[in-house]
Symmetry: C2
Subunit: 383 residues, 2 copies
């Protein structure tokens, strides 16, 4: 078997935590009981001061670092940034990464059994908001004996959860890292999400979300949703340099794959449509659309941020056109206006929104520098 790299957290195993105390949700419904699946990397210190929470993005999950077995082909989705000596240094920090409620990777969601009916939750699973997720994450922290996170960290939809943590639990978050995110979706962002939803919901195999009971999957819809999503994750330049107008075969003047980029997108869509739950995808896009902490404050983001008490790191990427740099600067400006400590870095990267997943050197340096400050502030050993 191949040896795991020395900066890997190694072989990890998911754990589960079951909760029987009902969770009241923003939509007005209550989840009577639920399970969260999560992973941890590193060791919680005796004082409980070194915990870092990782919040995942639209199609993410709890498996953020390491491998599930020694010859696991792929590591966790943020393995570039979590491990011994990496930005989130597991020699110092105790890292917690969970699958959010409504997800399809083990936490309670549309693929779970609804205790009231004995059938799958399916489309009856209540709509989740970023705030709901943060509340459920706080309960997981309670369970793990974490009074206060040294840092809460996330990219994209994960970054929205970080913002919400700073507002809903200001005493329980010592530092916030908001990466490639936005304080609210634009009309164009919502429009792309709506195309994805219409693709899924208009697929005849969707059956109003009860595809499980019809022994089918809305593969066509989910494939289209992923294809259009994928275009927004990559920069135009990255797509251009990766595929350009390269042909996969001679022009056939038909509808088989001709250009490489077509082949790539179809493959991405096909793979995703077999592995991700459509109801989960729908509710995750809605959580994105709904997120808007400034709304109850008449759109004044600085007013919304008043409760926050922790220092922020905000990171954007130059070619991210899903959540462009100016969207991060909106947050930075509001934090400054609200008199909150904030460091901001706009990282030059050709990789668009996906850059937040990748190990770009300046990004790593900025991120590691911020996490070293977290360690110092928390008076962690060796920092």
């Amino acid at each position: 078997m191949p040896e795991l790299a020395s900066d890997s957290v190694g072989v990890v195993a998911p754990q589960t935590a079951h909760f029987d105390d009902p969770l009241a949700l923003a939509c007005g419904k209550t989840l009577p009981s639920y399970t969260l699946v999560y992973e941890t990397y590193g060791t919680l210190n005796a004082e409980g001061t070194n915990a870092v929470l990782i919040c995942h993005a639209l199609s993410g999950h709890h498996h953020a670092a390491g491998r599930h077995h020694e010859d696991d082909r792929k590591p966790g989705w943020w393995d570039a940034h979590i491990g011994p000596g990496k930005s989130i240094d597991t020699n110092r920090f105790f890292v917690v990464s969970l699958n959010n409620l409504g997800g399809c990777h083990g936490s309670t969601g549309p693929l779970s059994i609804n205790p009231d009916t004995g059938r799958l939750w399916g489309p009856d699973f209540p709509m989740m908001t970023v705030s709901d997720w943060v509340h459920s994450q706080a309960r997981l922290a309670d369970r793990l004996g974490i009074e206060r996170f040294a840092a809460v960290v996330g990219g994209s939809l994960g970054g929205m959860q970080v913002m919400q943590w700073a507002l809903d639990y200001p005493e329980r978050i010592a530092h916030a890292a908001v990466i490639a995110a936005t304080p609210r979706l634009s009309a164009q962002n919502i429009a792309f999400n709506e195309v994805a939803r219409q693709a899924i919901r208009s697929d005849p195999d969707f059956h109003d979300g009860w595809y499980g009971e019809h022994d089918t999957l809305p593969r066509r819809g989910l494939k289209l949703a992923r294809m259009v999503g994928h275009i927004t994750y990559l920069s135009e330049a990255a797509m251009g340099s990766k595929f350009g107008r390269d042909l996969r075969q001679d022009l056939g003047y038909g509808y088989d794959v001709e250009f490489q980029v077509e082949s790539y997108l179809r493959h991405q869509g096909d793979t995703f449509s077999e592995s991700f739950d459509a109801n989960t995808y729908l509710l995750m896009t809605k959580a994105l659309d709904y997120f808007d902490p400034a709304a109850p404050h008449g759109g004044d983001l600085a007013a919304a941020l008043a409760p926050a008490k922790c220092p922020f790191l905000v990171v954007s990427f130059s070619t991210d056109w899903r959540f462009p740099p100016w969207r991060s600067r909106e947050l930075v400006d509001a934090l400054v206006r609200a008199d909150k400590p904030v460091s901001y870095a706009n990282i030059d990267s050709p990789h668009g929104h996906d850059a937040f997943l990748l190990p770009e050197p300046r990004y790593q340096a900025v991120f590691a520098g911020f996490m070293a400050r977290v360690a110092r502030d928390q008076q962690l050993e060796g920092s």
Copy 2:
């Protein structure tokens, strides 16, 4: 009945021209005979020197200006720019506007009868290229007694036809106006087209393109194609200022329309899916993808442009992200390198790609100025 504005071409009627001379196509097939539907505005002068050809975009057609009856609700798609005293001044010019082959507005296309089989052409209609369209347009010019166009003009896919005119018939085009176009699609452009095609082709009502024989329409797919297309026609800023995060109703935490932008997109998609032919949409997107005059010259656009003999006007729009200004500058740079006369204007507009259809004052001034030069060069009366 309401009076038509004095700068309208008034009530117009489509005409048809039938061609029995076979048209050899780039795909290797031959169209044995075909009909083109077209409109004309203004009067061809005795010398035949004042004709202007209008080339349409992806979902366009021959009805570019005026109204089909006096209380027609909407004028032609380029009515802002064609009429007495407008940029393309019908007091001076004889304007020809046709529906391209493969279209669904009267010219021979998938909705026509295939003489070989007696059934609809449907998906058997041969794939068209920009070059094929230009050849068919030249034959229409022959029929109308137009030896040489004073100008060939078009936006988006229409602008590609203008470029092709300058290369394939350099003696027959005196001036070229290429608006909101690009000398070739990027990988991202192709990717969006591929999403649209997959949406249509994976719709169970598509029936491999034989929906006509199944008495149905691939409405779901065509709706999705239009929705995703529409996002790319509008700038993020325009969508933001038009809709922002405005709600159509209180949040329902469900999948009914909540945000205004959702309502708008669904409506656009529904309307289009009832009025446009899916096979036409597919082949038009392919014609876009295939267009790449530099390809036979190893990617050297200046070399490709060598045959051109006419002065060019190139216009781009600041917030067009479908074919951004730098894509127009690629063409301008290549024209300069190829030692061709070119005027270029990048117009500040919030309206994205759709700006080419709208009456922005500086755009109108630039366009009218160029057309006045056309009139002078052609020694037209009153100019």
